[in-house]
């Protein structure tokens, strides 16, 4: 009986512990709530929905000058790439060949990825130096060079996520929501659906 009681107490403690775990922080004065400014300063990565895109806008015409000034050193005058950086233009029709040319135009699925990467990671060595308008203009320039938009089209927080990239349907599974289940996705060698 005593033994049973002991088990009961143990069980009760366990249950209480689990409930507390699920509901409230357990570790007093470890970590704090960030300020809205602290979150805003870092919450800059842009997903396909484009929710984090900053104000600003740019066209391919504007982007051409910035590209000539800041990008050609590595990516080449026509975006053809070099030993230092990948090709950015062309490659259509090569994905089924043994020498696929994977560029913004031939391969990339989301236009938001172009802005996100340029804005945070380019030019290499001067990351974070571009203003939003410059990053929009460079994004527009690459879209234009890949025959996706006109050189006068303005790219901004509204127009960018709405662009359908030429190879958007070239990926498996086609919809982002369908890659959610890890077990189905656990894909290597023969296990890919």
């Amino acid at each position: 009986m005593r033994c049973f009681y002991k088990h009961l107490v143990f069980l009760a403690a366990l249950t209480a512990g689990t409930a507390a775990w699920a509901q409230a922080p357990n570790y007093k004065n470890v970590g704090r709530a960030p300020t809205p400014d602290e979150i805003r300063a870092w919450d800059t990565a842009v997903g396909p929905a484009g929710k984090e895109l900053p104000p600003g806008s740019g066209t391919a015409k504007e982007g051409a000058d910035i590209f000539a000034e800041k990008c050609v050193v590595c990516h080449g005058p026509a975006g053809e790439g070099s030993q230092l950086a990948p090709r950015l233009v062309g490659g259509k029709g090569t994905l089924t060949t043994p020498q696929p040319v994977l560029t913004v135009g031939s391969y990339w699925a989301f236009a938001t990825t172009i802005f996100d990467f340029i804005y945070k990671a380019m030019p290499r060595g001067q990351e974070g130096s571009l203003k939003p308008g410059q990053a929009y203009a460079l994004t527009a320039f690459l879209l234009y060079k890949n025959d996706i938009i006109k050189d006068t089209d303005a790219i901004d927080a509204k127009t960018l996520p709405a662009i359908k990239m030429p190879n958007r349907d070239g990926f498996i599974p086609p919809q982002l929501k369908d890659i959610h289940d890890i077990k189905k996705r656990g894909c290597r060698l023969g296990h890919c659906p």
């Binding site: 709530a33 990565a45 230092l84 994905l95 043994p98 696929p100 989301f110 070239g170 890890i182 023969g190």
Partner: protein, 425 residues
């Protein structure tokens, strides 16, 4: 929040320091120790014997001094000289992808957890160290490790390739830190959150989208590596360890985790890491790495001393869990015999295997084959080729990067005692 002082000057300083390290490391075996080093200095922070001269191997062409050469594809771990199952931290492989090691002040570094959570939280490093900690052995492996195509394919296929050339993009450490699940529970993950994005404090802010199930499973926010702080080139002061999954998930210099409802399709995860198939369709998001193994002694580039007794020794690992079995073939794959698996055996960690063997001096091909706790067996090159519908020509000519290539590695020992990479012989 975080130190903003880095920039180019700091980077150049770091590069100079790294160059100094490298110069020190390639001192030829047998050279006298530097005369300037006092006994106190030698005892303050130990160095290996100057007779031990093997180092990581790689190229780093940034900042560009010329336009020639190839882009950097990582510094490979000299896996063939490692004993046991731990990779010394200074030899742990690195792939920079433009993310240079940074000089981060740990007192200024912060980890922010926000997005779809009930209580956004921000932690200092000291605060994280006050939380319940765990230490776990885990490998980190590049998904391109041992891959036979793409930019480094030729060097990997070459008969002269060493185990460093073929399998040098994996390493194993004892990582110490806070379980990510604990931090996420503190923040209170909302039901709508299905993914998280993990982001680094490096200037290009490397980012990886990870399904929330994995975040709540066995991820670790690590500040310790093999008993000391995580090395700068490994993410000092904080690295996310995502056990068993492609190396790219293990975000270095971790500063932010945001709970979201879809993957963010960062440049690398959406354009460099999908597997492009022959039909032109590409498979997004392959996370877990399959069972793999490699014999490290004897292995490519080594020289047998002559007929007689040798212990065959190597490493096996799997993203699917613990290694349950390793078999050895000494007759080009005709027959297989169990090797002995040595402690410690940990899940999603390198595991050392050994096998007693006597070389009779004849030409022979040695191979190892691992099986993990899910009973998944490491395939042969031909089995992979069949699954992928590719022929030998494809390996030799395609520029397409074939990731997750975990084929059995054959080493051929010639009568003269030389050891060659026989994957494509």
């Amino acid at each position: 929040m975080n130190s903003k002082k880095s920039g180019r000057r700091q980077f150049l300083k770091n590069s100079a320091a790294l160059a100094g390290l490298a110069a020190g490391a390639i001192t030829p075996a047998g050279a006298a120790p530097p005369a300037s080093e006092t006994v106190e200095q030698l005892h303050a922070y130990g160095q290996r014997s100057h007779f031990e001269s093997w180092t990581r191997k790689g190229k780093h062409l940034w900042p560009p001094e010329g336009q020639s050469g190839t882009r950097d594809y990582g510094f490979r771990n000299p896996i063939q000289y490692q004993s046991g199952m731990i990779t010394p931290a200074p030899l742990h492989f690195t792939i920079s992808h433009g993310h240079e090691p940074r000089d981060i002040d740990p007192t200024q570094h912060r980890l922010l957890i926000h997005g779809m959570v009930d209580r956004p939280l921000i932690f200092s490093l000291d605060e994280l160290k006050r939380l319940p900690s765990v230490s776990r052995f885990h490998f980190v492996e590049c998904n391109a490790n041992s891959g036979p195509t793409g930019p480094t394919g030729a060097a990997r296929r070459a008969p002269t390739a060493t185990a460093q050339d073929t399998h040098g993009l994996t390493s194993c450490s004892l990582w110490t830190g806070v379980p990510l699940s604990l931090l996420l529970q503190q923040a209170g993950v909302q039901k709508s959150a299905t993914w998280m994005i993990a982001e680094g404090a490096d200037p290009p802010h490397h980012l990886k989208s990870i399904p929330i199930e994995k975040g709540m499973d066995d991820c670790l926010v690590a500040y310790g590596q093999n008993g000391e702080a995580v090395r700068p080139e490994q993410g000092y002061p904080l690295r996310l360890i995502v056990a068993g999954w492609e190396g790219i998930n293990n975000v270095k210099w971790l500063r932010r985790i945001k709970l979201v409802d879809q993957p963010y399709m960062d440049m690398r995860e959406s354009t460099k890491y999908p597997s492009l198939r022959l039909d032109g369709k590409a498979r997004w998001f392959q996370f877990e790495l399959g069972p793999k193994s490699v014999i490290t002694r004897p292995s490519g580039g080594q020289q047998m001393a002559g007929p007689g007794y040798y212990e065959i020794s190597g490493l096996a690992w799997s993203g699917g869990g613990a290694i349950r079995r390793v078999e050895i073939s000494t007759d080009n794959g005709k027959t297989w015999t169990d090797a002995q698996i040595q402690d410690p055996v940990a899940r999603k960690a390198h595991t050392r295997f050994v096998f007693p063997w006597e070389w009779n001096g004849e030409q022979v091909v040695l191979q190892s084959r691992s099986t993990d706790e899910r009973n998944e067996v490491q395939p042969t090159r031909d089995e992979i080729s069949k699954i992928w519908h590719i022929d030998m020509d494809y390996y030799n000519t395609s520029t397409n990067l074939v990731g997750h290539f975990n084929a059995i590695q054959p080493w051929k020992i010639n009568r003269d005692g030389s050891v060659l990479n026989a994957l494509f012989l």
